[in-house]
Amino acid sequence: MTIILLLVATLATIALWWLSHQRLMEKPWLETGPAEAFRGVTAGGMPAEKIALGVFLAVVSSLFALFASAYSMRMHMASDWRSLPLPWLLWPNTIVLFLSSLAMGWAQIAVRRGDAASLRKALLAGGASAFLFLVGQLMAWQQLAEGGFYLAANPANAFFYLLTALHGLHLLGGLVAWGRTIVRTGRSTAARWMTLSVDLCALYWHFMLLVWLAILALLLHG
């Protein structure tokens, strides 16, 4: 459970940092008065969607950290663990996902410049490469299955399928949001809406890349 405890400690630190800006030590009954005096601590700058995504990413981190904890505990609790050979396809897949994340970063730049054409291109590139990654993952599964590494044969296999499936599902969810964004580029949407939409997608993409790298590290470690 070390991994999840580390994550909880990290999140607790963030929470404490935030709480330390909320005047928790002040005596609120002495602070009667108009809002302006306490402006700094009322509902603040960031759009709600961004905060929501941040909180959601914390939830997803918790989910994957718990899987990672289960992974390492299961590995050490019994001697039946036989690591499976990682299919070579994972490496090109990783590069594709990295490119996907890069394309999303490009989209962020494009939307800030107001360059609609390259925004569309960047988004399409990002989504298509993410899709390609998913197809690649499915092919990696196939490779493994052909090699006789079935799900139930060994916990290492089971964790491999489970973790990749879960990551793929999250990416698939991201593709839904990406679809909504790309539909919006066709319409005349307010610029700040567009920026937010692209920012959220890009943030999610970078996060999914990080999660994938973490999973890869875990699998290599096993």
């Binding site: 509902a43 939830v59 039946d80």
Partner: protein, 591 residues
Amino acid sequence: MGEATAKPLDGRGHAEVPEDDLYHATSWWTKYVFSQDAKVIALQYSATALAAGFVALVLSWLMRLQLGFPDSLSIIDQNQYYQVITMHGMIMVVYLLTALLLGGFGNYLIPLMVGARDMAFPYLNMLSYWTYLLAVLVLMSSFFVPGGPTGAGWTLYPPQAILSGTPGRDAGIVLMLVSLIIFIIGFTMGGLNYVVTVLQGRARGMTMMRLPLTVWGIFTASVMALLAFPALFVGAVMLLFDRLLGTSFFMPAIVEMGQPLGYSGGSPILFQHMFWFFGHPEVYIVALPAFGIVSDLISTHARRNIFGYRMMVWAIVIIGFLSFAVWAHHMYVSGMHPYFGFFFATTTLIIAVPTALKVYNWVLTLWRGDIHLTVPMLFALGFIVTFVNGGLTGLFLGNAVLDVPLSDTMFVVAHFHMVMGVAPILVIFGAIYHWYPKATGRMMHEAMGKFHFWVTFIGSYAIFFPLHYLGLMGVPRRYHAMGEMSDIPLSTGELNALVSVAAFIVGFAQLVFVFNLIWSLRHGAAAGGNPWRATTLEWQTPETPPGHGNWGRELPVVYRWAYDYSVPGAMQDFLPQNQPPSAQATRSAAP
């Protein structure tokens, strides 16, 4: 998210959305069924949770019939007994308490108390409710499948949860796990909403330290739930894999009834770690909203500021953090490494200190108050009694070696029913009596309320207090019949009968409550906008019940904390949070 969530991004957040930007329901369906209004969603959550709770209540009667009168009145066999306890436990903990306190009260109170028009993401909020309903329906459907619901106990420990020696092994356990997974997905949607609304939806002037403790409690509990429920999700998914796909996450090599099974190497203790990493925060996920609500009830009805508000906030936050470091106190005798016992006993007993401080502050709020013994106040007092009782027995179970004889006995059953069954339920009742006038515009009938309180409170105490002593004697929990026990006198049968009778009386009193809920809808006395003369924002809405968008044309502006009761020099004994200081001066200057 539909266009409803479109908001200006000029850095001023949700709170300043003009009323016209809100999503407007256009038909009866979108207004009352697929509504995106947090208040309607709150009522939907509450009604569904209470309905599920009634199923669980009936299940508890079946259980008590079996335990109290095993020879004469029992109508269930041992298979059904285990199915009944499992469903009773899971429904009560997850589908009633969590859903009602966060989905019900959270949805109703957060936007009103922080001065927002609605939740941050109304569409997601609606989706959260319907996902929750789906989870409830999937769970209930397990009553009707061949083999019935699972009888694995609410802890669902593998290996037995998915083996044939346990009832409901075929479909019941699968439906249970699927339902939990759906519930967690639905809750995540709701939880995001509660957290973001508190962070971003607060009205002008509503600093964190001006929030009522109810919001603090629900907010902290939501954050905890968002981080803790994934553990149950992980456990459920992996158990589902073990059950359906033959993996060996939790399943070691097993010879069941002489037949070797295909599993090998898995660890049942791994599941217990996952389950309790969720399960212990879950206790506080239920308790913290109850702590918050009861603070507001006591303060309002004792006409006195909550004593030590800052300490109350700090205690909530500290309990929230610490509750992630105590989970293995459920596992002292599980076979985990014994050295963990030192750590978890220490953290568990440390958490008793902030909890005790909360109790002191509640009773100190009564000191030199002006106590009105209204029905909500009675329930709040009942909460303190049962919570103190149940909390103190927690000091036995949390202290590793004391848990050795007591673990998995009726002592544990008595403890957790007192502390996270009866106590939060009393708060829920108190809160319903307290906020019913706001939600409906009518008061609930007081005499019926008092009757409901006394029978529920005394009755529940009579049910669960004696059970501790069965546990001390060594009666294990989850026995459908005690049979011949060498060390246990026959008189325990009589004790069980008495407890069962008390349980039926308490159960029937709940019918009075339901009748009161429905009867008062039409016949209750008109309440007015602020019948309890409370300070918090939800009582200052222009309409009662609050209309769509809560606040009419203008959002409230907050000038003071939530507990300005009996301020010296003020004309009234309460100052609403949105009352400007100048108005206070002029009013107090007037005779």
